[in-house]
Structures are given as structure tokens and as C-alpha cells.
Amino acid sequence: MKLLQCPVNGTRPISEFTYGGEYREAPDPQTCSDKVWADYVHNRHGAPGLKKEWWYHGPSGTWFIAERNTLTDSVSRTYLFGQEKDA
């Protein structure tokens, strides 16, 4: 992947973006056990496959979610967080 589509600014070279890691849903800190929280903080779904990831377009300051296959490094879609339905 050398190009990435920012949902706001369109397709841009990858050098303009910063990878923000896998998006993981946080457990409820009020109710979850220490173990569940530690798992959320430290562990990752490391196996290859389609993942939701945070990406940041630097020049415009836009965070968004990219659905990317980490095996083939191909992005199937990108959208602003929470706007998955409209994407």
C-alpha cells in the first residue's frame, strides 16, 4: 500500500498518514475485571486478517478508521469513527 484514502481529503500518499494501531473496543472500566482490563491494555489481535485500524491524516489532522487486510495490505474502506453505517 502506497496510497490511502482519507474519508475527508481523498487519496493521498501513505507518507502523509500516521498509523494509530488497531481499534479495540474498551471494556467498561467500572465493571470489568482487572484481567479483562489488562488484556485490553496490553494484548492485540495479532493474527492477520481484516482489521479496523486508526489512521491519521497529518496535513489535515483527520483521524479515521480504515478496514485493512493486514495480510495483503489492502484497504477495503475508510470512514470517520462512528460513521461506519454511512460509509
Binding site: 500500500m1 496510497l3 489488562a38 489532522g61
Partner: protein, 967 residues
């Protein structure tokens, strides 16, 4: 005796521009346009280099940029590829990697030792006894490498260019040219590149004595050059294929990064040598090399020679050679039958004897071992790959042209992710499944007939145009028509005495493969690594295919089950300067940068910024230590000012601004009064301290937040992310660059400020932690009372555009008060005197707030803040270390411990010094250190080990350093 012949139509030399150069001290005449090799060859000089391992004499092999045995140095540059680099007037060339000259190379004796140097010999010896290895290693290193690097070679900056196109076509041979025309005619913007000086590919040299070929080429080239949609780039190669059709085109002057919408690979094929004893002698070369020599440079490869072939190309070569006046004594065809009847008839009509089912068993070298004297012909048994002597004969000659087949120049296709399959019809790997937007045409696609290649180019272009959305473009079919494959399935002749070379870069012979397999290295990747086949500078261009064929025979497996090795970038070795580009690493400069420099600022890199570490006052000759103490003393006794523009500066506003900061930082902000500020400690999810800044409330719905200089970008980014995640009604503005900041500190600071602003800056009206907006020297500023470096200090934020004006005004106004600028070194000392830790200086990537006495900044009773849940877990665990303040004994005068000296307790490491400095103001050595929790009580002593191993006693201080008694 010269080998130069009469002018050839389309030749690449300019006979009007003769030139002279020297090679190994000998003067040589040539023409402009000659490559080093062609010039030397024309002059009858055939020893162009020595081989890497055995130091055998080598001449021309490919004439296609993989003659890695003919590397030159001109005294400035090294490893110059003589086969393709033009010679220029006055050059003084020498072959690399010889001792005592290329002809008399002292290392040529190694050739005779070769029986002692079996494949992988270096794994088997030199290490017993252990102490002998350095001795042998030294010898091996001396023998290693090719040319010598010139340490005075000037630094090159080679800016890169970018280009875009619809269709990038790599290779301007017949298929590439026709693809370009087709794509361009469909309105596509085309870039067509070729590594040769002129376009045309095999049309320029593979004529089989048919003079109409050059006319065909001329017509094609004319059409291409006249087409406004085609940009033709010659003398530049595609270095590699990278994701999303990014291809760096490497030219003499630098790299053009082409981003294409589609790519057609029409890179042709590399001719492959048949393998027989002494197939490496100067004078033995590939058929296509001989053709290039004739047609491009008008040089005969030899006077009287033999063509050995295993395909029709050898017949074409024989015809071209005959037409150039070479006496072709025999055409030795390893196949059972010849292919194209017309070709065979044409060859026969020249009086050339065709020997079918025959091979060259060996070449007999001339007595000096520097050239060809005779070839030994024999029958060839394909099954056993051995010679049959019932039909053996000898022919005296001075050269051999060899054509056994081709290997697709498929490196770019592999890099793009193409799946290749072995096609028995052509005895070659061809693309089976191409990635999206990538197409192949011509020989690389297994198409050899000229008419078909032209059509295959059109076909690939039509496919590309359709891929780009041209649905109405008709699909083109290319029929394959072969009698016999253009490549031989096994052009290898075994010989009991070896020296039948497969890899000319690395001097690997047939038996090396057999022996490697015997030792268990019998899959292609292991074999490659054990024998080093294909690992040399030509990257296996002439050797990998034969290696695969040999291994397939050994394993009794079909070729496709052997597979290929991966073809990594670069297509040709690519200069570091080209890749490095401009080599420009920008620093950010503050608005006051120039002022600092002019006032003796000793500038240091601080993250992306340059900042003054300290100042050398005009005319003074202070040591850094003296300057730092003076600057700090000024702050304590009068006033000082530091440029703090590098701080991160973020405006947070909107209805949820307070609530947002409460989630983001550890402290409380919702209840913060307008006009005041609080420390903003940021943790990561694991509870590790990441940043501490200040958040000041400008209005109910507006905060101004500062961050540490080094974290400015990351904190802003994290704010933005969390904002999205939490979905709050907040707007963020990053003012880091737009705003400058300076801190005016010290007892006199208030008086200085009073002269420049109407604002009431006295304690009542402007207490610690307060923020005010007011004019200073006519500029609207935000002023904050912060106490990082001194109890009385004002942090002044103004637009960067007026920062220098304010700075200069304050400096001028402050002069009578003893105001001095101070740098980051004094700042660190002042901050230490104040007892404030510095995140990522006094803390590390694992420090949590409990360990750094930052518990007071945690509002654990809040509903949520980042890192809170982890802190709850950590709170239940015993502390492992604690950050404490310490002093050394008064009057301590021995070697000062340094930052990162260890705290030692009973022989164990219990911590380390994170900050330490002598404070002239306190007249004490003070510092901070991590210690074990049971060493952290006020007044407790611990020991620091210095560089010299001395143990220095230190005492924990829990209150302010300023309250220290002299004890």
C-alpha cells in the same frame, strides 16, 4: 589487430569524435559512444577483469549490464560496469580486484587451488582451533570484495522527481514500443522507459542479417517520438516495483518516482549461457552480446569462431556474425533437430557447417590462459547431459558465441506479486496470474516471434486501457506458434574436470550444485544460500535458471516443482546517493532563532527544534558550566528569560471543553475558575506518565493547554483521536507554530513587566497559576504565572509574528534589572532546584505517577480518565521504585556522579540518578534519583556509584531544596 568493422546502420558510436584513454596503462583509441568494453574489445583487448573467487581472466559475457567480471575503476569511482558505461576521453581505467594488473594478477594461482575449495568450503574449515579464526578471517576479508572505495569521493545530492501517467511501460523493445503506441492511440498518457541509451531492444541488434529490421525499428521509433501522449525515457531503468504501481526510474542524474495507474512490463529476457568447461574464457560470450557488439558498436566479437546453440537464436547470431565478416567455422546445435528451416538453410548457404545433437565439450585456452585457442566438439546426450566422443573433433578459433535460451526478466513482475508458471512450450517461466493493473508483453510473457511480440504489445496495451475504464476496447488474442522452444531444457555439459560455470559472478560450477545437494541443500532456497548462486551483483540474471534446471535434474522433479527464488529490488544495483536524494533533514526554528545565534546562543537539537543550550555573552569566554550557573543565578537574583516557543500550544473550546480535559488528563478541570490554570498530567492506557503541561481556562468554554516540547504533536493527535472516540462537542486548534512563548522569571521579572504592560501583575491581582490576556509592548498576549523555574515567573504567549518584537523589547527593558537570556541547560538546573521532575528525563517509558510522587495530580474519584483503570490495578501492587530528590554532602568536591549512575544497595542495583547538578545558588549538589521504596524516606541515605566505581553518599530530601540547612 582491430576488430572494428565498417559503419553499421544505426550504430551507437560517433566516428567523427575519436578519443583516447588508457586501460591498465595501455593507450587505447575509441569513439564517442563506445562503452569501456566495446572500446577495449575493438582494440583487441579481451581480458577485462578477473573473477571474484578464482581470479580467472574474464572478458565479455552479456553486454547487457550484468558483466560483473568486467568492473573498472577510473581512480574516482569504482565497480564501474564496463559493458554499459561509456568511455570518455582521457580516462585512466583499471580493472578492479587484481593485484599487479589484470593480466599478471598475483591471485590467479587461486584458480589452481579450486579443488581444495569445494562448495561451502568456508563452513568446513578455518575455525579449529578457535583462536585461529581471526587469522583466517583476516585473510578472507583481504580477498573479499571487488573494487576499493574512494574515501574522497565527493558527496552527491541527487534531488528526486515525481511523475504520473496512465500507463507505464517498462522496456522499449518491439513489444514495449507497440504497446506504447496502442495505449497512446487510445488517449492514454504513456511513459516508456528503457535502460539502454536508445530504444529498440532486440530490433536494434537481432537482425539475422536481415537489413530490413533496422527500417522497421526506425518506423516504430518515429511514430513513438512523434506521439504527444508518449514520453520516452532512455538510459534509465525501473529499479523495482512497489505497492500501488510506484516504480522508481533510475537515471544517470537521479531517480524519478513514477506513480502509474497501470504498468506494462515488457522487459524481455536475459540470454542464458550453455554450461561447458571453460565457458568463461575471454572470447566466449552470449550470442546476443556478440550481436550487440556488432550492431551497436561495429565491433566483431572475434575473427574466427564457433556458435554453440540450443535454440534458433544461435542461427540468427551466426548470420549476423557472418554478415559482419566473422568467419563462422561451425554452428553447434545441442538439439536433436534444428528449428526454423529457413534459418537453417540461410546458415548453410553461408557455408557454415551445422552440427546437430552436438555440444562444446570444452574450450581449450590459449597458452597464457587469457583467451580461446580451440573448442572440442562432441555429440550431446540430452538424457545424461554428457558429451559423446564418437563424434568428437577440434576446431581452432578465437571465440565462441553461445545461445542456449532465455530467462524472463521478470523481477518486476515477481515484486508486483505475479504468480508464474513453467511453460513447457517455451521452456520458461511465464506469468500465470498478474496482479491488478499489471500486464506483461513480449519475451517476458513467453512470446518470441517478432510479429507476435508486436501484437502482444498491442494486446497488453488494450488490456491496460480496458482496465483503466475503456470498456469498448476490443480484446486482442495472440496465438503462440512454436516448433521448438526458444530455450533448451538442459543446456548443460558435464565434465570431470569442472570449470563449467553456471554463475560467473560467484564462480560456481556444475559440480558445486551436485555436491551441495549431496550435503542436503537440495531445495532451491537452501541451494542458493549454500552455493551463493545468484547472490552476486548480477543477482542471478544469467545463472538462476540454469541452477533451477540442474536442481530439477538432481531431484528428478519437473522444473515447476523446484520453483524460483524471490527477485528482490533492485533490478540493477542502485547508487546510495540516488536513493538518498537531497538528504535534507529540516529543523524547526523559533521566531527568535536568529536573535539567539547573534547573542552567542549555543544551539542544540531538541527534538525537531533547534534551541539554545546556553549563551556565550559577547566578548566573554565562559565554559558551559560557568555560563549555566550565571544564567541560573540571574534568574534567582534578578531575572532571566527563555524562549519557550517549542512548547505545544493547543486551544480547546466548546461546550464540553472542561469535560473533555477531565477525561483526557488526570486532574480536575470542570471546576477550574476562568483565569486560572492547573497542571495537566497525561497518562497512557497502561498508566505510564506521558506528558505534563498546563491547562488554563480562558473562558467557560475555552481552555489554553500547553504540552512539553517533545510531545506537542503526539498530544494534539491523541486529543483529536479521543475527541472523535468520545464524540464530545469540542473544537481543537493547534497553535504550536502560530504562537511563540517565552518565560520571564526571577525576582525582577515583575518590575520589568510592569514597564511594558498596563496589566496589574502584583500578587493579589495575578496570583500563582493565573492567566491573563493583556497587551505587552503593544501586542496582545496571554500571560501565565507558572512556577517551573522560579516562584515568580511569567509565561508570555504571543503570535509568532510579533514574538521577536516582544522578546527584544523585554530584553531591552530588562537590561537595567540584570535580565539575561537563559538556555535549556540553565532551565534544567532551575527546574531541578524547584524540585520539579521532567517527564522522560526523570521518568522513563514505564514510570507511573505513584512512583514519581505525582499522586497529588490524580483525581481518582473522577468517573474516568485515560489510564485511571490501570492505576487502580497498580495502586494495589507494591511499589518497585520511587523517584526522590536528594542532596550530596555540603562541600562535596570529589568526582560528581553523573546522570544514569546507579544507586547501589548491598551490591544490588536499586535505582539510578536521573538528574544531578551543582547549584551555585544553593551551593550544593542536588539531584533526583530512582531508589527502592524502602530508601525513599526523608533524610534517608543511599549510595550512588560513580563512573570510577566510587560510592557517593546521597540523602533524600522531601521538602524544598531551598529550605535546606547548611547541614
Amino acid at each position: 589487430m582491430t576488430l572494428r568493422i565498417a559503419e553499421k546502420k544505426g550504430e551507437w558510436i560517433n566516428r567523427d569524435m575519436p578519443l583516447t584513454f588508457t586501460y591498465e596503462g595501455q593507450t587505447v583509441q575509441a569513439f564517442e559512444g563506445d562503452t569501456m568494453s566495446s572500446a577495449l574489445w575493438a582494440a583487441g583487448i579481451k581480458v577485462l577483469g578477473r573473477s571474484f573467487k578464482y581470479h580467472r581472466a574474464r572478458g565479455l559475457l552479456s553486454f547487457a549490464n550484468h558483466d560483473v567480471n568486467a568492473l573498472m575503476t577510473d581512480g574516482v569511482d569504482t565497480n564501474i560496469r564496463a559493458d554499459v558505461i561509456p568511455v570518455s576521453h582521457g580516462m585512466e581505467l583499471f580493472a578492479v580486484n587484481t593485484e599487479g594488473g589484470v593480466v599478471k594478477d598475483k591471485n590467479r594461482f587461486i584458480d589452481r587451488l579450486s579443488p581444495f575449495l569445494p562448495v561451502g568450503f568456508y563452513y568446513k574449515t578455518f575455525f579449529k582451533p578457535r583462536m585461529m579464526f581471526p587469522f583466517w578471517e583476516n585473510k578472507i576479508r583481504k580477498a573479499a570484495g571487488l573494487g576499493k572505495v574512494n574515501f574522497d569521493y565527493p558527496r552527491q545530492l541527487r534531488p528526486k522527481r515525481n511523475a504520473h501517467c496512465d500507463v507505464l511501460i517498462i522496456g522499449a523493445g518491439p513489444s514495449g514500443l507497440s504497446a506504447a503506441l496502442t495505449a497512446a492511440n487510445h488517449g492514454k498518457q504513456v511513459i516508456l522507459v528503457d535502460e539502454n541509451r536508445y530504444a529498440g531492444g532486440s530490433l536494434g541488434y537481432d537482425h539475422a542479417a536481415d537489413s530490413s529490421t533496422s527500417d522497421k525499428l526506425e518506423t516504430l521509433l518515429k511514430q513513438v517520438s512523434e506521439h504527444s501522449n508518449i514520453r520516452l525515457i532512455c538510459d534509465a531503468y525501473a529499479g523495482g516495483y512497489y505497492g500501488d504501481h510506484l516504480v522508481p526510474i533510475v537515471g544517470k542524474e537521479g531517480i524519478t518516482k513514477v506513480r502509474a495507474r497501470s504498468v506494462i512490463v515488457a522487459t524481455g529476457a536475459f540470454e542464458q549461457p550453455p554450461v561447458f568447461r571453460n565457458n568463461d574464457l575471454p572470447g566466449v560470450m552470449l550470442g546476443s552480446a556478440a550481436q550487440r557488439l556488432v550492431h551497436r558498436y561495429a565491433v566483431k566479437p572475434f575473427h574466427r569462431g564457433v556458435v554453440v546453440t540450443a535454440n534458433d537464436h544461435g542461427y540468427r547470431t551466426a548470420l549476423d556474425l557472418a554478415a559482419a565478416g566473422v568467419e563462422v567455422l561451425a554452428l553447434v546445435d545441442m538439439r536433436q533437430q534444428s528449428g526454423d528451416e529457413q534459418l537453417a538453410a540461410a546458415v548453410a548457404s553461408k557455408g557454415i557447417t551445422i552440427h546437430l545433437a552436438s555440444c562444446i565439450y570444452e574450450v581449450i585456452p590459449s597458452s597464457d590462459k587469457l583467451g580461446v585457442a580451440e573448442v572440442v566438439l562432441a555429440g550431446y546426450d540430452e538424457q545424461t547431459a554428457s558429451a559423446r566422443f564418437e563424434r568428437s573433433s577440434r576446431i581452432a578459433c578465437d571465440g565462441v558465441a553461445m545461445s542456449a535460451g532465455w530467462a524472463p526478466a521478470a523481477a518486476l513482475l515477481y515484486q508486483a506479486g505475479t504468480k508464474m508458471r513453467y511453460d513447457y512450450a517455451v521452456e520458461q517461466f511465464v506469468p500465470a496470474q498478474l496482479p491488478e493493473g499489471v500486464f506483461a508483453a513480449g519475451k517476458v510473457n513467453g512470446v518470441y516471434d517478432l510479429a507476435l511480440r508486436l501484437r502482444d504489445g498491442q494486446r497488453a496495451a488494450a488490456d491496460a486501457v480496458r482496465y483503466l475504464g475503456g470498456q469498448d476496447v476490443e480484446q486482442i488474442e495472440v496465438a503462440q506458434s512454436f516448433q521448438l522452444a526458444p530455450s533448451h531444457a538442459y543446456p548443460i555439459v558435464h565434465h570431470p574436470d569442472g570449470k563449467n560455470f553456471v554463475d560467473f559472478d560467484e564462480d560456481i560450477q556444475v559440480k558445486d550444485f551436485i555436491n551441495a545437494a549431496k550435503e542436503g541443500f537440495d531445495n532451491i532456497e537452501l541451494m542458493k544460500r549454500f552455493t551463493t548462486v545468484g547472490m552476486g551483483p548480477s543477482q542471478g540474471k544469467h545463472s538462476n535458471m540454469n541452477a533451477i534446471r540442474i536442481l530439477a535434474r538432481i531431484r528428478q522433479l519437473p522444473v515447476e516443482q523446484i520453483g524460483t527464488t524471490t527477485a528482490r529490488p533492485f533490478f540493477h544495483p542502485t547508487p546510495l546517493a540516488h536513493l538518498g536524494g537531497r538528504g535534507f533533514h529540516p529543523h524547526r526554528l523559533t521566531a527568535m532563532h536568529e536573535w539567539h545565534v547573534n547573542h552567542g546562543g549555543v544551539m542544540m537539537e531538541a527534538g525537531v527544534w533547534m534551541r539554545p543550550a546556553w549563551y556565550q555573552p559577547q566578548g566573554a569566554k565562559l565554559t558551559a558550566q560557568e555560563a549555566v550557573q550565571q544564567e541560573a543565578m540571574a534568574v534567582r537574583k534578578a531575572a532571566g528569560m527563555i524562549d519557550g516557543s517549542t512548547l505545544g500550544k493547543i486551544e480547546v473550546f466548546g461546550q464540553d471543553a472542561g469535560a473533555f480535559l477531565e477525561r483526557f488528563y488526570t486532574g480536575k478541570f470542570a471546576d477550574l475558575r476562568v483565569g486560572s490554570s492547573r497542571v495537566a498530567l497525561l497518562l497512557d492506557e497502561a498508566g505510564v506518565m506521558v506528558d505534563d503541561g498546563v491547562a488554563a481556562r480562558l473562558a467557560e468554554d475555552k481552555f489554553y493547554v500547553s504540552t512539553n516540547s517533545s510531545n506537542a504533536a503526539t498530544v494534539y493527535r491523541e486529543m483529536q483521536r479521543n475527541l472523535q472516540l468520545w464524540g464530545m462537542s469540542v473544537t481543537l486548534v493547534n497553535l504550536t507554530g502560530a504562537m511563540a512563548a517565552m518565560t520571564l522569571a526571577g525576582p525582577a521579572s515583575r518590575s520589568i513587566l510592569t514597564e511594558l504592560t498596563e496589566l496589574d501583575v502584583f500578587e493579589e491581582a495575578f496570583p500563582q497559576g493565573a492567566i491573563r490576556t493583556a497587551e505587552i509592548a503593544g501586542v496582545q498576549a496571554r500571560i501565565m504565572r507558572v512556577a517551573f523555574v522560579a516562584d515568580l515567573a511569567f509565561e508570555i504567549h504571543v503570535p509568532s509574528s510579533s514574538a521577536l518584537h516582544i522578546w527584544q523589547n523585554i530584553m531591552k527593558t530588562g537590561q537595567p534589572f540584570g535580565l539575561r537570556p537563559f538556555g535549556t541547560d540553565a532551565q534544567r538546573l532551575l527546574r531541578l532546584e524547584m524540585g520539579h521532575h521532567l517527564i522522560s528525563h526523570d521518568t522513563d517509558g514505564l514510570t507511573n505517577p505513584f512512583e514519581a510522587h505525582a499522586g497529588g495530580l490524580l483525581a481518582m474519584d473522577k468517573a474516568f480518565f485515560t489510564g485511571q483503570r490501570s492505576l487502580q490495578i497498580l495502586a494495589a501492587k507494591p511499589l518497585k521504585k520511587q523517584l526522590v530528590k536528594f542532596v550530596l554532602d555540603p562541600g562535596f568536591s570529589a568526582e560528581l556522579p553523573k546522570e544514569c549512575n546507579l544507586v547501589i544497595n548491598a551490591g544490588q542495583i536499586t535505582g539510578r540518578v536521573t538528574s544531578i547538578a551543582y547549584s551555585e545558588y544553593l551551593n550544593r549538589v542536588i539531584g533526583m534519583a530512582f531508589v527502592a521504596p524502602d530508601q525513599a524516606a526523608n533524610g534517608q541515605q543511599f549510595e550512588i556509584r560513580t563512573d570510577d566505581g566510587l560510592l557517593v553518599k546521597a540523602r533524600v530530601v522531601q521538602g524544598s531544596f531551598f529550605k535546606l540547612s547548611a547541614q
